[in-house]
Structure formats: C-alpha cells, structure tokens
Amino acid sequence: MKAKTLKGSSKIGKILQNMGSILLFLVIWELAVHIFDIREAFLCTPSSAVYHLLVPQPDANYHWSVNILTTLKEYVISFAFVAAGGIALAILISWSKTIQGILMPAFIFICSLPMIAIAPILLIWIGYGLKTNVLVAFLVSFFPMVINTITGLGAQDKQLLDLVRYLGANRWQVLLKIQLPGALPYIFSGLKISSSLCIMGVIVGELIASDKGLGYVIVNAQLTMDTPPMFASLIMMSLLGWGMYLLVSLCERLLTPWNFVKERVDS
C-alpha cells in the first residue's frame, strides 16, 4: 500500500478567478471615466496610468526605474531587518519567562500605538532619505512580527517538550527540534502581516519627506494634479507588496510542507 497525496487542481482556477475580477474592475473603471467624461486632473483611466509607467518619461522626477528601485530597496532592507530581527528577538525573549513577562505588555502597548505618527519625529532626528524610511517601516512592522513569533514558540503542546527532555535534550535541541519548527506557521503569518505593514511604512516615510521613491512621486504629482503618475505609483506599490506576500507564501510552502498535505490515508 502506498501513501499518495492528491494535488489541488482547483488552485489554477482560483488564480484565474482572481485575475478575472481584477480585470473586470479595471474595465469598469476605464469605461466609467470615458462615459462620465471625468477630467484627468480628477481621475485618470487605468490605461493612462499603465501607459505612464511604460513610456520613458522626460521629467527626471518621473523616472520610474529610479523611483521603483528606491522604494524596493527600502522595502527589502526594512523587511529583512523585521524578519531576522523579529525572530531573533522573539527567541531571546522566549528564553526567559521573566523577561517575557516584563516585555510582552510593553510590546503589546507599542503595537497599539499608531507608529506612523513617529515618522515626523524621526525626520527631525535622522533627516530625510533611506535611513528614515527604513526605520519608519521597521517600527511599523516589527512588533507584530515579534509577538507572532513569541506566540508560536510557546504554542507547542507541553508534552512535546517532555518527549525530548526525557532523553536529556538541552535547550538548543528543544528550540531547534521542537519550538522553532512548530512556530513556523506563526512566523509565516507574522511575516505576511508585516510585509504589508512594512511597505506602508516605507511609503509613509517617502510621503513625508523624500526626493525619490514611489511615495515621493505621489506627493510631487499632486502639486500639478497630474493623476496618471499618481495611480501608476499606486499600482507599483501594490505590486511590490503583493510580490513580497507571494514570496513569503512560496517560502511557507517550501518550509512547512506538512501543512499542505491534508488528504488522510487509512490503513
């Protein structure tokens, strides 16, 4: 008798469905602008936003490769710090019950703070540019990551710890063999939440003060009520956030394969 796992073939169908609904939305938008004859200074068509992205722009402020790369770089740096730092700090905190007892309430408090409000203060302290934007993004998305990971590290059935302790497992073995693998689903849900918070933080930093980046494009285009680059920028932001989310989901699939086999086999 051989165990077999069935592949979900409805997966592709679901993706097509999602794409279809997005496409439908864009078509309605495009038609609405034409039919109701909306001024471009108020709302542009999606096609003109995409067109803006695709043709070379004479205005240096609208050089998309520079702006996209700037935002992408800030996003990747801050998200990498959030992921690595969040997991590391969570492990350290979960190491000691006392530290956990002291820090967790503080963290939950910080989490409920609208971190974005800190951006103008950071601007005074650090000045504008990559560092500030990265820091804003970090602060906005770091604490949910830590809290999720700590929850995951403590979520194991206590008896699973007995399973290795009776064989004299040390702390590292308990962490590496039981706690960390068991926390992976929590870590990935933390990463998913943080990935969208993080791009938001980067953009907020750019909106407040920057000389390049997708957030800067919006602020700059607003001055002249030039809507196509504004919507083009929005499209790119959502693509960046979506891309990171997909990347996290892909890693999740690779690193927690047991969560993706659901068919049971009976003897």
Binding site: A3, D157, G168, A169, K177, S267
Partner: protein, 254 residues
C-alpha cells in the same frame, strides 16, 4: 541468577501536586522492584497516578519523597529509556521516518546508521510504505504505532509504556500485544507497562502491580506464572481467569 537482578527499585515513592485548590496527593507511597528483563504491568483506576509514576521514573519530574534506585552500572537513565506516551505526540513537521529517528538526533548518535533499523521497526509495527508520510496523513492508531517505533529506535534497556494501545482497535491491539512480546523476548528488554485492561495485563506480564484509587497505595503485586511464549489459548484457561479475578478483587470492583 542473572534475570533476578533488580534494574529499578522504587521505595516509598510519593508525589504531591500543589494546585490552585491546594495539595493533591497523586501517589501515596508506592514501593516495588522491577527486575532486569522483567515485564511488569501497572493497573489501577483512572487518575490514580500511573502517568505520574512513569514520568518520575523517566526523570521528567521530581518525586515529593521516597527513592528511585537504578542499577547505574547496567543502565543509564537518560540513554537507556524509551517512553511511549499516552498520546502519540508526533512532530507534525517531520515525516514518519524522521519522527522515529528523533531520539537518535537528541542523543547525538549517527543518524545514517539507524535508518535501516527505523525501517525495520516501521515494518514491525505494520507501517511499511508510510515512512515518507506526514503524521497528519495517518490515522490515530497508525500515529500511536509510529510512537512505539520511536521509543524503540535507540535500543533502550527499559521501555516505559503508558497505555500505548489505548487508541488502537481490538484487533490491532491484539496483534501489537504479540509483537510487543516478541520484541521483548528477542531483545531482552525490561518493560513497565501501564494499562486499564486487566486481561491485557495478565496476558503480557510476569508481574502486575495493582494500585488503588488516589492517594494510591499498592494493593497487589501479582506474579503471573503462565508459561511463555504466551498464546491466545491461554486466555481461556481457568488460571488466566483466576488471575484476572484476583486483580479485579484487589481493585475492589464489585
């Protein structure tokens, strides 16, 4: 005689849990010996402290008072114990084979050398061909059998089994009983076996320790003098039933 040597000696072992409602006496002074290569069962009503006793023997928690003496020359309480828990407790993220090999990793032994042994054990518990599955692809009884293979992988001298067959159906249970006896006889292991099933205890054991309800006292220490190897026919013998009746009486089942 070699097999009369004591492996484990339990002297006035007591366990009091401190709970929110106050003190709870789980084990009220239990004493007995387990000889090398002996098959000893522990029976007693639910909540009388059988799991507690096993956990103390495995070194997972300290006793409140009393002594636990082991023959340290023959036996290392850390490396030479295999524990089959009441629940299967498999690691969801490991394939069946890697679950079986977990003790090898914890004891830092050469994992590669134990792979053939792991396959053998899986075949023994009737799970050949499932080694690449994840635990959530197996039924409850199959998971429990994986946990039995896991407890045997590092070739422990003492096997602690806490109602290992509770989740199995009657037929599989009967088969597993035979397998267990075969492993025990071949590998000269010592088994301490907790069960609720009196006839299972009589069928398997050299000796049965009978515990009373909480706070538990030892109310019986019954030698089972049925010849080995045990057979199904023995279950119909008057002696077999006399042993069972004797234990029921000690448990004050009326």
């Amino acid at each position: 005689m070699e097999e009369k040597k004591t492996l484990l000696s339990i002297r006035d072992l007591k366990k009091v849990y401190t709970t929110r409602e106050g003190e709870l006496e789980a084990l009220g002074s239990v004493s007995f010996d387990v000889g090398r290569q002996e098959f000893v069962s522990i029976v007693g009503p639910s909540g009388c402290g059988k799991t507690t006793l096993m956990r103390i023997i495995a070194g997972l928690m300290p006793q409140t008072s009393g002594e636990l003496i082991v023959d340290k020359d023959y036996f290392d309480p850390q490396k030479d114990v295999g524990f089959v828990f009441q629940k299967a407790l498999l690691l969801d993220w490991r394939r069946v084979i890697d679950n079986v090999l977990l003790p090898i990793e914890i004891l830092k032994l050469d994992k590669k050398k134990y792979i053939p042994r792991a396959m053998e054990l899986l075949e023994l518990v009737g799970l050949k061909g499932f080694e690449k599955c994840y635990p959530n692809e197996l039924s409850g009884g199959m998971q429990q059998r994986v946990s039995i293979a896991r407890a045997l992988i590092h070739d422990p001298k003492l096997i602690l089994m806490d109602e290992p067959f509770g989740a199995l159906d009657a037929i599989t249970r009967e088969k597993m009983n035979f397998e267990l006896l075969r492993i025990w006889a071949e590998s000269k292991k010592t088994v301490l076996f907790v069960t609720h099933e009196i006839s299972e205890a009589v069928f398997l054991s050299d000796r049965i320790i009978v515990l009373s309800a909480r706070p538990s006292k030892m109310v019986g220490n019954v030698e089972i003098e049925l010849p080995r190897p045990r057979t199904l026919e023995q279950k119909l013998l008057p002696e077999f039933n006399r042993y069972a009746l004797d234990i029921y009486n000690k448990l004050e089942v009326k």
